[in-house]
């Protein structure tokens, strides 16, 4: 009866299905929308309401901070990301007050880091000084050279924005300020890995993050979704070439200190090196309380940040409440929350039971499942075929080629999610 007893233990997956995990000490990423407004009109943007120029009232932020810190939600290192609109469209004076306010409520036991993800158009020397003075980390969204970037990242009067973003990046360079880059890959990008690698290596970014053009929230189509087989083939070729370029620049994918890192490749290496590899279920997007997103008007949601303000069939509005008048975290018996959790958990379980890549992604992203399939309890998406399965295959192939073989007598035990009796089922089978 070991299995039955284990299934009734507090940390058992079966138990978690009925009772969602405690949020206390779990919050790693707090995403705050200072304003929904964006000065650009990129054609693949997932955010609705981008013309709305309203700004978060500081009393709303204070209500959020009070509840977050008083209830002990954050883990010891909390990252605050100002995003979900163009954050630099809000003046620096507002941030000065906002940073002070969060610092006032933040206990000494929590280290708080501010981060801004910007389209780069408004960065100037004044902003760079502000970033330096307040230890703000900065990410710039740029899709490569102008002939790729300007196809999608445009103003409301339909002008390209590349030249203006480059001026912002020049300001970062003048201040010797390190930054990471998010590049959205569309179908046309996949045919140009060398041009993209060279562009970003010369740009001086410390970390390149390759998002794909996703179907989620307000973005209902993607250039990658037309011919999925063609897309997957092109994406694999693209990532293989990026890995090759990293290897040729640094000598080894696994052991080097490159000037530029690629997030997708790092993620696979870090998962492989993690002592918990093969024993983890769930990730920061599909477990509640690890990411908290707060809209300008105080509405909040957990799980994937893109879910804030969205609805789902059978679940209705995915917002869990408003920091001004609802409990945060939501009450454990909150029906809306429990319905979301139950469906998302079922999706994790379905992934766990059917996918050999589960140890890397640990159940996928609810926003992509919802955007592509209309449900949370589903498994494979185009997003996971590309950003998880294809990238994993590319990294494993590169490591297989580069690393020395194991001695003949060593047979590693496959690590897969531990069964309910605490034993590795795959290992027991062999």
């Amino acid at each position: 009866m070991n299995g039955l007893l284990a299934s009734l233990a507090p940390d058992s997956p079966a138990r978690q299905t009925a009772a969602p995990p405690d949020w206390k000490g779990q919050l790693q990423l707090l995403i705050v929308q200072p304003s929904p407004f964006c000065n650009l009109d990129c054609d693949y943007c997932y955010l609705p309401d981008r013309q709305n120029t309203r700004r978060m009232d500081l009393s709303t932020l204070e209500a959020a901070a009070t509840k977050i810190f008083a209830t002990g939600l954050p883990c010891p290192e909390l990252t605050v990301v100002w995003h979900a609109g163009e954050p630099l469209a809000v003046p620096r004076e507002w941030y000065l007050k906002a940073f002070d306010l969060l610092a006032k409520h933040c206990p000494e036991s929590v280290t708080l880091t501010h981060n801004i993800q910007t389209n780069g158009v408004l960065i100037d020397d004044g902003w760079v000084t502000f970033f330096q003075d307040h230890g703000v980390r900065v990410g710039v969204s740029i899709d490569g050279p102008d002939w790729l970037h300007d196809r999608h990242r445009r103003t409301r009067d339909n002008r390209g924005t590349h030249a203006r973003v480059m001026r912002g990046i020049e300001a970062l360079h003048r201040g010797d300020f390190p930054f990471h880059v998010i590049c959205v890959l569309t179908r046309e990008s996949l045919d140009h890995p060398d041009e993209l690698f060279d562009f970003f290596a010369n740009l001086g970014t410390i970390h390149l993050c390759l998002n794909i053009e996703e179907i989620e929230s307000a973005n209902r189509s993607s250039s990658l979704a037309g011919n999925v087989e063609d897309t997957e083939h092109a994406f694999r070729q693209f990532m293989a070439r990026m890995a090759e370029r990293l290897c040729s620049a640094n000598g080894s994918l696994a052991h080097s200190a490159p000037r530029m890192r690629i997030r997708e490749i790092d993620d696979i290496l870090l998962a492989l090196r993690h002592p918990g590899f093969g024993q983890q279920v769930g990730n920061s997007q599909n477990l509640p309380g690890q990411i908290l997103s707060i809209a300008w008007d105080g509405r909040f949601a957990t799980f994937s940040p893109e879910l804030l303000g969205q609805s789902a069939p059978g679940l209705g509005d995915l917002t869990l409440g408003n920091v001004l008048n609802d409990p945060l975290p939501p009450l454990p018996d909150d029906a809306r929350y429990l319905r979301q959790w139950s469906d998302i958990w079922q999706g994790i379980e379905n992934c766990r039971k059917s996918c050999a890549y589960f140890n890397f992604c640990r159940g996928g992203a609810p926003s992509n499942k919802l955007g592509e399939t209309g449900r949370f309890d589903t498994t494979e998406t185009l997003f996971c075929r590309l950003t998880q399965k294809a990238v994993t295959d590319v990294v494993l192939a590169a490591l297989d080629r580069d690393l020395p073989s194991l001695p003949q007598h060593v047979k590693p035990k496959p690590r897969f999610w531990l069964g309910e009796n605490g034993h590795n089922k795959m290992h027991n089978r062999s």
């Binding site: 990423l29 880091t113 980390r137 990471h180 997030r263 950003t387 309910e420």
Partner: protein, 99 residues
């Protein structure tokens, strides 16, 4: 199948199966950890490569301590990648600290 026409041992097995099936049905037992649909060779290959990576990390630490895997990287060491037992933020919402 009439359970009670089986031998005693088989009868016990059959009753156990039905009992556990019932428990699984009402959610008291998790589903089997690994199902046939999973690509077992990929999992085994992954573990082989993982072991080789960890071995190479160890060897690399001895010869080039300043260049051992990502945990020696300044950004990553301070960023909590190794906040075991939890993985860090995942996918495109990975923790900004680590960029």
């Amino acid at each position: 199948m009439n359970t009670f026409k089986l031998t005693s041992s088989k009868r016990c097995t059959e009753i156990s199966k039905r009992l556990f099936g019932l428990l699984a049905l009402i959610g008291l037992l998790p589903a089997p950890a690994v199902e046939a649909a999973i690509n077992i060779p990929l999992i085994q290959r992954t573990e082989d490569i993982r072991q080789r990576l960890l071995d190479a990390d160890k060897a690399n630490t001895k010869s080039h301590p300043q260049q051992q895997g990502p945990d020696k990287n300044e950004n990553l060491a301070s960023g909590g990648w190794y906040n075991f037992p939890n993985f860090p933020n995942w996918g495109k919402w990975r923790d900004w600290r680590n960029y």
